[in-house]
Structure formats: structure tokens, C-alpha cells
């Protein structure tokens, strides 16, 4: 069933004109309303970042020293759960206090091959220690295809302040839950101290705290 668009064999093109009016309206509109300019001149101008954005994972550390404040306890859950298996962890022999103050192992090696990583954030979901989070940094192109895209511990470690900067709401929730965990550990150590009948003695000092 083909519609006959012609009048006596001549195509009037009413619909085409109607469409062209629409195009003209759009063309003129971009001079009038700023809302219609949907693109920006990228390297100079940037659109406002969206808080939930995720690109690649990074490791959060508390305090100033990344090695001492690293939250990761090398439990290797993310390594197991990662769908493309791009995480490689080596566990330490000794222990250091973690974010809530319990003595834990730490990773002597923590590599993420971001040429394999697909930014699915399953590592973030499964991490019970709030140690791995998603970054928003996306300008990561490098000339070195293999070494440049295999990130080690130093490159992956970023401070809790940085985490607050990029994901403010999420970071605040994480800090609250970590503080609750720390309070629990503190209460326990206090109770132990009391039970040991060391009355009047100082409560053991709290280990490195999260900076917020």
C-alpha cells in the first residue's frame, strides 16, 4: 500500500519542507539557547563530573603513608571473584594493623592489569574491608602497552581524602561504617584490658586512624 505523494504526477514535497523547517529551527535555536549546545570543546572545557562514575579500581589508604595505612588485607577475595581475572595479589608473611585496628596480613604485591579490567566493580562489591574503590580518572593512555597498563601497589594506592573528593556520599558512608568497626575493636581491647586487671593502666593507643 504505497501512499501517493504526488499531485498529478508532480511531487510537491510538503513533508520535506516540514522536515527542513525543523532542521532550520534547530540550527537557529543553537544560537539562542545554551541548552541546545550539547557538546563541549573537550580538552579545554570539561563537563561536570558525575559522582557515581566508575572507571578503574584503586586501593584506599588512611593517613599519610600509603604503605602503613593500606586498608587491603590481602584476603584475595577480589582476585577470586574478578570476572576477567585481572588482579594479582601476593600475601605478606607478617601482619600489620588494618583500618579498624586488627592485626592483619597486607599485600606485598597487588597488580591490576587495566588493559584486561572491564570496570565492572565486582571487586568493590565483594571487598569486606572497604579497601578497593572505583576511580574516576579516565585519561590513562600510555605509550607502553604492557608495563604502562599494569599498575602496581604504589600506582594503585590513593588516599582517603582523594576518595572523599571523587565519591563524597559513598566515602562518608564508608567512614561511618569503619568508625563503627573501630569502636567495636576498641571496646573489645578495653574489655580485655579490664579483664586482665590492669586497672588504671592506659588503654592501648588506637592505631592509625582514617583521616577525614
Amino acid at each position: 500500500m504505497i501512499t501517493d505523494n504526488t499531485v498529478g504526477g508532480i511531487l510537491l514535497g510538503e513533508g520535506i519542507l516540514k522536515g527542513l523547517t525543523e532542521t532550520a529551527k534547530n540550527f537557529a535555536g543553537s544560537f539562542v539557547s545554551a541548552e541546545r549546545l550539547t557538546t563541549v570543546e573537550y580538552p579545554e572545557q570539561r563537563v561536570a563530573p558525575i559522582e557515581a562514575t566508575r572507571v578503574f579500581p584503586f586501593l584506599v589508604y588512611d593517613g599519610k603513608d600509603w604503605e602503613a595505612g593500606m586498608r587491603c588485607v590481602a584476603c584475595q577475595i577480589c582476585e577470586k571473584e574478578c570476572p576477567p581475572k585481572c588482579i594479582y595479589i601476593e600475601k605478606s608473611k607478617d601482619k600489620k594493623p588494618d583500618a579498624v585496628g586488627k592485626p592483619q596480613f597486607y599485600p606485598t604485591k597487588f597488580d591490576i592489569d587495566i588493559s584486561v579490567c572491564m570496570s565492572c566493580q565486582i571487586c568493590v562489591e565483594v571487598c569486606p574491608f572497604e579497601a578497593i574503590k572505583m576511580d574516576t580518572e579516565f585519561e590513562l593512555s600510555t605509550e607502553d602497552r604492557f608495563g604502562g597498563l599494569l599498575l602496581g601497589r604504589e600506582q594503585l594506592s590513593k588516599s582517603n581524602e582523594y576518595y572523599h573528593e571523587i565519591h563524597a556520599t559513598e566515602a562518608a558512608n564508608v567512614d561511618a561504617s569503619l568508625a563503627a568497626g573501630r569502636a567495636k575493636v576498641d571496646a573489645k581491647t578495653t574489655a580485655v584490658a579490664i579483664a586482665a586487671a590492669v586497672r588504671g593502666a592506659e588503654v592501648p593507643p588506637r592505631p592509625a586512624e582514617g583521616g577525614d
Partner: protein, 391 residues
């Protein structure tokens, strides 16, 4: 090969399709390989076309260039681990892929989904449908030679929807948002307000596309009466989605199954009358309008509450042995997942029923006897994504 030779050979190999094409001459057939890098194919796909002059005598779709071993990989990773891979099936509509997979696993385990999560799923699913149909119309018109204008208008609107996806799920296309028993994160009131704002702007966009295209004489001349797919053939071939409804068959899984909470929504199913490319274009326009009505209703009624079943497990998820087939009405048609669990952490069998692949099997029947320039158009009206065809 001459035409008579071709027909004889066809009879020899026992093709049951009647020789639709009657030749008027004794000319040689010209065999053209359209693709795998033809700009119309949206990816890597080849059509081996045999031409008698301008007319298509035979067309053989060749695919598999983008095969990524999706099903076997999914049988090796955990149930949750396959979720991000489903994003990469139909990468235009990752959220509906997530939904279909989550629905199947929920069917397998019998998990309940909280009310708010169901509403969020409907909102995201319908937003996905709008952006898929808008860009598919844009691509179709671009394949006719309108270099860019309708496509860019569609992409301008799609951009807003992708920003919403990014604001909620963290990613524009690879959302990885649905979970077994709900959704990963809750939507903030600010996000819902932003969505309301975008949705209120969508009818204006569709009116604009309508004025721009629907009555365009060139579009009508190119698409009307081209690529006719008869309803009997469509049903027999298992075609689903807008393709099937453009052939006049009233079959929408949102109505038939009423999965999720779709039976609470009042929407109409547009049907085609002439079964041609123009109908497929028009069906997508009308479906967008229905989706917007559903979006408005969902955004009005969305309740407060949790978005995740509290009993749901993220780690150590092992469904009891059994099998399940879950399907949804994805923007391109019926998207189904078939899972067999043997009680282990990963599925024993994982199978995808992709709408794109099955809608594509009918391509030759629509193209026979048409001009070679219309093949591109008919192919565009099927609306496929190669990531889903080849998996």
C-alpha cells in the same frame, strides 16, 4: 553461473523456497560480498548477495566475526561474574540484558524482588527502549543517505538518557546494575527528579522526529512496500519484537508474560498494517510514546523501600540444582536466558536466546526480488547489534 543454472542447482540441493525470482534474460549473476566492513552493517557482518542486474536473487548472511565465546566463559565464571558480560551482548541496551539474566537466575532460585527495585527496573528498561529505538531510527535514516541529521538528533536525546544511566549505575553503557534479587544501588531523589525532567522532554523530541521524518516523501518512497515480511513467515521463523509487531502479530512479552510488574501498567501495543520497512520505523516511533507513558506512571508510583532482597548473597552464590528459562521483551525482541545449575558456583549450561540473531535469519526472504540499494535499508530495519548476533 547463469540464472537457469542457479535455479537448477537450487532444486538439486533441495531448497524448499520456491524460486521467487523469474528472470527475463539469460544474464550472468553478479556475486557481491557486502561486508564484513560495509558501513551499513553496524559492525562486522557479511551478506553474500547474488544480483541479476539490480535485483537480489540470493542472499546469504555470514556472521561469527565477533564471536567472543560468551556462553562458555559464563559456564566457567560464577553466576554473578557473568553479569558484566551480559552488558556486552547488546551493548546499546545493557540494562535489559542485565534484567533478563537477573530474571532467569531469580526464577532458578525463587528469589523475591522488592517493589522499589521492580519499579526501578521498569524505569531503566523503558529508558533503554526509548534510547534504542531513537538511535535505531537514526541509523535507519542514515542508511538511506540522510547523513547524520536524524541520527544526531537521536543521539542528543540518547546522551541525556546515558547521563542518567551514569548517574545511577556509574557507567554509560556497561551498566552492570541488576543483581539477583534486586538492584545494586538505590536511586536518590535527585536522580528521580532528573529522570522526571528528561522524561518530560521526551514527547517533544518524538514530535520533532515525527515532523522531521514521518511525512517525508523521500522516506516514504524508499520504505513503503519494501522488505515485506508476511506474518505467517514471521511467526514460523521465530521473529520477535518490533519486527513481529510490524508484521501485524500482536505479541508483546510484557503483555503475554507480564513479568516483573508490567501487568500494573496500562499500555497499548502498536501493530503494523503493511508489514514493510516504513511500518517497522513507525512501530518504533509509537513504542517510544507508549514507553514514555509507562515511564511517567512508574515515576509517579515508585514506592520507598529497599532495592535488594535482604537474603540475597553476593559471594558464595550457589543455586540449588535445576533449570530455568527467563525471557523479557528487550527493545529488539525476545531476549531469553536458559540456565542449568548443578548446585555449583557456576552454571552447568548457559544459553542466550538473542533477538538480533533470530530476527536476522529472515533477511534473505525479505530481500529477494528487491533492489540492492534496498538491502541496506531492510537490514537496517531489522535493528541488530552484532555483539548479540555473534556473542
Amino acid at each position: 553461473m547463469t540464472l537457469t543454472g542457479f535455479v537448477q542447482e537450487n532444486k538439486k540441493v533441495g531448497w524448499n523456497r520456491p524460486p521467487v525470482i523469474e528472470s527475463d534474460g539469460e544474464g550472468e549473476l553478479l556475486e557481491v560480498a557486502m561486508g564484513p566492513h560495509h558501513p551499513s552493517t553496524h559492525g562486522v557482518f557479511r551478506m553474500d548477495v547474488a544480483l541479476d542486474g539490480e535485483r537480489v536473487i540470493r542472499l546469504k548472511p555470514v556472521f561469527g566475526y565477533l564471536h567472543r565465546n560468551h556462553e562458555k566463559i559464563a559456564e566457567g565464571t560464577s553466576f554473578l561474574g557473568s553479569m558484566p558480560y551480559t552488558d556486552r551482548l547488546d551493548y546499546i541496551c545493557s540494562l535489559t540484558n542485565n534484567w533478563a539474566y537477573a530474571l532467569t537466575v531469580e526464577k532458578l532460585t525463587g528469589q523475591e524482588v522488592p517493589e522499589r527495585a521492580e519499579y526501578l527496573r521498569v524505569i531503566l528498561g523503558e529508558l533503554t527502549r526509548v534510547q534504542n529505538h531513537a538511535s535505531s531510527i537514526g541509523f535507519l535514516i542514515q542508511e538511506m543517505g540522510a547523513s547524520g541529521t536524524p541520527l544526531m538528533y537521536a543521539f542528543r536525546e540518547r546522551e541525556k538518557i546515558l547521563d542518567l544511566f551514569e548517574g545511577l549505575t556509574g557507567s554509560r553503557m556497561m551498566c552492570n546494575y541488576m543483581r539477583f534479587g534486586g538492584c545494586r544501588v538505590d536511586a536518590s531523589p535527585a536522580w528521580l527528579d532528573a529522570t522526571r525532567k528528561v522524561v518530560s522532554g521526551l514527547p517533544g523530541f518524538i514530535d520533532e522526529v515525527d515532523r522531521l521524518l514521518s511525512s517525508n516523501e523521500i522516506l516514504m518512497a524508499r520504505t513503503q512496500g519494501v522488505g515485506i515480511l508476511r506474518p505467517e513467515l514471521a511467526v514460523n521463523a521465530g521473529v520477535t519484537g518490533p519486527m513481529l509487531r510490524a508484521s501485524g502479530v500482536n505479541y508483546d512479552i510484557r503483555k503475554v508474560d507480564g513479568y516483573g510488574i508490567y501487568n500494573r501498567f496500562n499500555f497499548r501495543v502498536p501493530l503494523g498494517d503493511h508489514w514493510d520497512v516504513y511500518d517497522r520505523f513507525m512501530i518504533r516511533m509509537l513504542e517510544m510514546r507508549e514507553s514514555i507513558r509507562m515511564l511517567e506512571q512508574a515515576l509517579r508510583e515508585i514506592p520507598a523501600g529497599p532495592v535488594m532482597d535482604p537474603k540475597a548473597k553476593i559471594r558464595g552464590f550457589r543455586p540449588k540444582p535445576g533449570e530455568a528459562y527467563g525471557r523479557i521483551e528487550a527493545p529488539k525482541g525476545e531476549l531469553g536466558f536458559y540456565l542449568i545449575s548443578d548446585g555449583g558456583p557456576n552454571p552447568y549450561r548457559y544459553r542466550v536466546r538473542p533477538p538480533s540473531l533470530i530476527n536476522l535469519t529472515i533477511l534473505e526472504d525479505m530481500c529477494l526480488g528487491q533492489n540492492v540499494a534496498d538491502v541496506v535499508l531492510i537490514f537496517g530495519s531489522v535493528d541488530i547489534v552484532l555483539g548479540e548476533v555473534d556473542r
